[in-house]
Amino acid sequence: MFTLPQKESRKPTTCPGSVSTRGLHSIYGDGLEREAARKPDQKLLYGVGDPTAMFSSDSPHLSSRGSIIKWFWDSAEEGYRTYHMDEYDEDRNPGGIINLGTSENKLCFDLLSRRRPRSCVDVGDSAGPHCEGILREEVASFLSFYCKSPAPLKPENVVVLNGCASLFSALATVLCEVGEAFLIPAPYYGAITQHVYLYGNVRLVCVYLDSEVTGLETHPFQLTVDKLEMALQGAISEGVKVKGLILINPQNPLGDIYSPGELREYLEFAKRHALHVMVDEVYMLSVFEESVGYRSVLSLEGLPDPQKTHVMWATSKDFGMSGLRFGTLYTENQDVATAVASLCRYHGLSGFVQYQMAQLLRDRDWINQVYLPENHARLKAAHTYVSEELRALGVPFLSHGAGFFIWVDLRKFLPEATFEEERLLWRRFLENKVLLSFGKAFECKEPGWFRLVFSDKAHRLRLGMQRIRQVLEGKSQVAEDPPSCQTQEPRGPHR
């Protein structure tokens, strides 16, 4: 049985009660030292994110929040910037960087561009509700169909804006006061930290998951209600007010899919504590293993607390159109829908893009008969290729037949289990012209995990994997004493 550690051990910080001060060091600030200082049998269960603890330099031209915001930009964009200065191109720059770090689906541009949208030019009307009304109807019917909702979803519960980042920002603002927090199982898509902070000044309390399978757990990085409870209690004991829980399903970066049973447990937990649940289902149509049996939260009969369950979806991932900036919220709570819509003035999308989106979502024949089968087949092929390469390299990884990425365990390639070493390895990849994402960016508490995006064209993947192999083979000889990590065999698509 999984036993709860003593209370002291899950205190990652010093002074309870003092919140949002710079004295409060979060996992961001001194995670490394704490990691090292902890006894091996103790687990770090949660951490309260505090963006103010992350930077030190003040600017004469910026406000203090402006300086933090700039810090976000400077730190997060490092790899991306390097990549942009030296992008790989088959003909023009074959020695350039291959990007296996950004989660984008580059496999289906041909399908998308062949389905040329008819053009609609309606230039006026800042709010463009005539388009928006149609689009909301299309979204409702689209989600009813693909999420298999028991009853048709209603257009008035739909809010449309320019991407899920905006949705996180708007939801954080209308659900939380300044300094309040959301729970989020970590590792998670790290940009959310920034989205909820920029305007909302809302923090994230990480529910740390780890690779070790203990007690009744059946798989690595498993989210359990116990862990949620402990993180919540921990945050409360520090004086942090938690207003909601963020779930990503299919999970990013783990590729996990929550079963309906698990999902219901998490929702019940949230209801018990009167928490909102934001379910980010941005990869819902990118489940390429049929046998996985993905279930949207909108398909559940009798949600525990429908008024506090808010579902997010976008076309960025499932239609490989991250540049189009389209995201949507489905919530039965009219107060939330209205409040988020009030902020749409700042998150609007062009009238004609709305029109084109409506056209695309309506084209059920093309989606079902052309796009989805082809997309899934290509994802599967790319996934098969990369996982075989990894197996050949003897690298353990997690992947569940959903999403565009594989969560790769490179712990044995770190001479020391620290985030510095993780970053060094990441740099070595970058120097060898392949961009990956390191685990720290996802608030993973175990150093040595990387996210590898496989949804790219075969020739780029081949080259990317070659470059990874070069680094690891050069590197693995250096690592004299690989830490005793259990090797995860890739879980088959049997779940």
Partner: protein, 610 residues
């Protein structure tokens, strides 16, 4: 800090005035009075908390002491929530108990004036209701945060008219009884040109790059195009640098993000008023930045050579007052050409304002969104980017967008040009939240690139159509002796309807606004621009001649009715006074007041060369 009074657009002057209280007590039940008290209490608490928070921010606190801020935040949230609940309970009680009916815009408000007494009562109730509009949507709500509740209420208070309009738009064939919107500043004169240009085949390009994540500051090709475009049209002395360009989905977003990176919550910008209402809104909604008004006056005097003139003295005074109130002012917001006044700042005045800002190390945000809508050839507009040497280039930030100058507000495009790299980088983070579709970015890039079409087709046509529409409206206004301000730029005229208000208050202004709505005509009233003087309206003329004609018919109908009601009221007052056997001093007083009012306006007209 969740309840700010100053920068709140639907705020009206305080009810602390004793007369109002007395009147209210005589006319209404205890419910209504209680409601007012609660509101005042709420305001008091909010102010107190703001002060507390400001003081804490100003002091250099040792880390342990900072912890004490937290209880204050908590307290604030709790108090705020309690207040909201009380107001709601009371509002509910009052509505059930007596005829506390919120006036509905679509209802005929003639009922108000059917009998003198009834009108008086409904006006009082209206006054109270108006104060409550901030809270009308706040059904006891544990779901949303306080700021969430406030956001909803503020939005619906401010955009109610617009939404009504969207549901029932005027159409010359299909819906002649629909709303005519001369309230929203949009240029609808050139949609034919734009539709044609945007339908050309070069616009329908799609490639992989447009569908993927791009640089969050905007696609490099668009930022380069914007830099070149601004270099050319702003007549910059040296080519502008694409690295200094940030592209977001609209100028509201640019302003909101800029306010966030330049100010901490509760800090402030100076803004000459009347000013564009959306900035009031944008400062408040997300950024929680206050706007400190620099009140300008219509009266012409020695120091004020033209109506609503901005002078450095007034800036100094406003800054001083703000400092005395403990406000931390971080910048100055200028709009040039001005909205709603249509002013253009001369290069000398602009330089004075910039020097003032430099002296106090303030940022200057200058919005030049109407820079290509200067349709009077005799006027020379000078962009801030055209100046040879800016006093403080690192603190001068220019905003532009295509919404007004190209009449494509539905495109959602706004851009910032700043010499300050740090500000540009901090702004970049907001690309996540205010990003534009790659496809839209491509179209904009093509549009801005087509210099030949812009110079030879679009701008000349647009300007001549604007001139024509402007001539029509100004002739109408002149012939009906309505004073107005307009300087040959922008899409609107700033008109004074003070002589139709009696008394000349913001409540009366709002009632007149409602009357226009009853006749399905939308104008913007001065209050939404934070204008200090009641009775001003902004009328947008960038619409087709036919629509303008219809609109003016409705406009006159309302004014005639308003005048008739005024006469009736005067007579009734006179009769009442005779009955009460009082000397007619009141009547003569109002007569003399009328004379002053009219002569004041004449002065204003003559100054404009009317």
């Amino acid at each position: 800090m969740s309840i700010q009074s100053r920068s709140n657009p639907s705020d009206i002057p305080h009810m602390s005035d004793g007369q109002v209280w007395d009147q209210a007590f005589r006319n209404h039940s205890i419910h209504t009075c209680l409601m007012e008290m609660v509101l005042s209490l709420q305001q008091a608490v909010a102010d107190h908390i703001t002060q507390l928070a400001t003081r804490h921010q100003q002091q250099d606190l040792v880390p342990e002491e900072q912890g004490h801020n937290q209880p204050i935040w908590g307290q604030e949230a709790l108090l705020g929530r309690l207040m909201f609940q009380m107001v709601n309970h009371l509002q509910f009680g009052a509505t059930g108990g007596q005829k506390f009916q919120p006036p509905c815009p679509s209802e005929d408000s003639k009922g108000d004036v059917r009998s003198r007494e009834q009108a008086q009562v409904s006006k009082q109730i209206y006054k109270i209701f108006y104060q409550l509009t901030n809270f009308e949507d706040t059904s006891i709500n544990y779901v949303l945060s306080n700021r969430g509740v406030e956001t909803s209420a503020l939005y619906h208070g401010s955009f109610q008219d617009y939404n009504t309009y969207q549901g029932n738009k005027y159409h010359e064939d299909k819906n002649t009884s629909g709303f005519i919107n001369l309230g929203t500043s949009e240029n609808k004169l050139c949609t034919d040109l734009l539709t044609e240009r945007l339908s050309r085949s070069d616009m329908n390009y799609i490639d992989d790059d447009l569908l993927q994540y791009s640089d969050w500051r905007g696609q490099p090709f668009l930022r380069e195009e914007v830099a070149q475009f601004l270099t050319y049209y702003c007549k910059a002395p040296a080519p502008l640098d694409p690295e200094n360009v940030v592209v977001l989905n609209g100028c509201s977003s640019v302003f909101s993000a800029l306010a966030t990176v330049l100010c901490d919550p509760g800090e402030a910008f100076l803004v000459p008023t009347p000013t564009y209402s959306d900035f009031v809104f944008s400062a408040h909604l997300y950024a929680k930045v206050d706007l400190v008004p620099v009140d300008l006056e219509s009266q012409v005097s020695d120091a004020n050579t033209h109506p609503f003139q901005l002078t450095v003295d007034k800036l100094e005074q406003a800054l001083l007052n703000a400092k005395l109130e403990g406000k931390k002012v971080r910048g100055l917001v200028l709009i040039n050409p001005q909205n709603p006044l249509g002013h253009i700042y001369s290069q000398d005045s602009l330089m004075e304002y910039l020097e003032f800002a430099k002296k106090h190390s303030l940022h200057v945000i200058i919005d030049e969104i109407y820079m290509l809508s200067v349709f009077d050839e005799s006027i020379t507009f000078r962009s801030v980017l055209s100046m040879e040497s800016l006093p403080d280039p690192n603190k001068t930030h220019m905003i532009w967008g295509t919404s007004k100058d190209f009449g494509i507000s539905g495109f959602r495009f706004g851009t910032l040009y700043t010499h300050n790299k740090e500000v540009a980088l901090a702004m970049s983070s907001f690309g996540y939240l205010h990003g534009i579709s790659g496809i839209t970015q491509y179209k904009l890039h093509r549009l801005l690139q087509d210099r030949e079409w812009i110079d030879n087709v679009y701008l000349p046509t647009n300007h001549s159509r604007l001139q024509e529409a402007h001539r029509f409206i100004t002739n109408e206004l002149k012939s009906s002796k309505i004073p107005f301000l307009s300087h040959g730029s922008g899409l609107y005229v700033w008109i004074s309807l003070r002589k139709y208000l009696d008394p000349c208050t913001f409540e009366e202004e709002l009632l007149l606004h409602r009357r226009f709505l009853d006749k399905k005509l939308i104008l913007s009233c001065g209050k939404t621009f934070m204008c200090k003087e009641p009775g001003w309206f902004r009328l947008v003329f960038a619409a087709t001649p036919l629509l303008l004609k219809h609109a003016m018919q409705r406009f006159y109908t309302v004014l005639v009715e308003q005048e008739q009601d005024w006469v009736v009221k005067q007579l009734e007052d006179a009769i009442n006074q005779e009955v009460e056997d009082l000397p007619a001093s009141d009547a003569s007083q109002s007569y003399s007041r009328e004379v002053i009012l009219t002569s004041g306006l004449e002065g204003c007209c003559s100054d404009l060369g009317l």
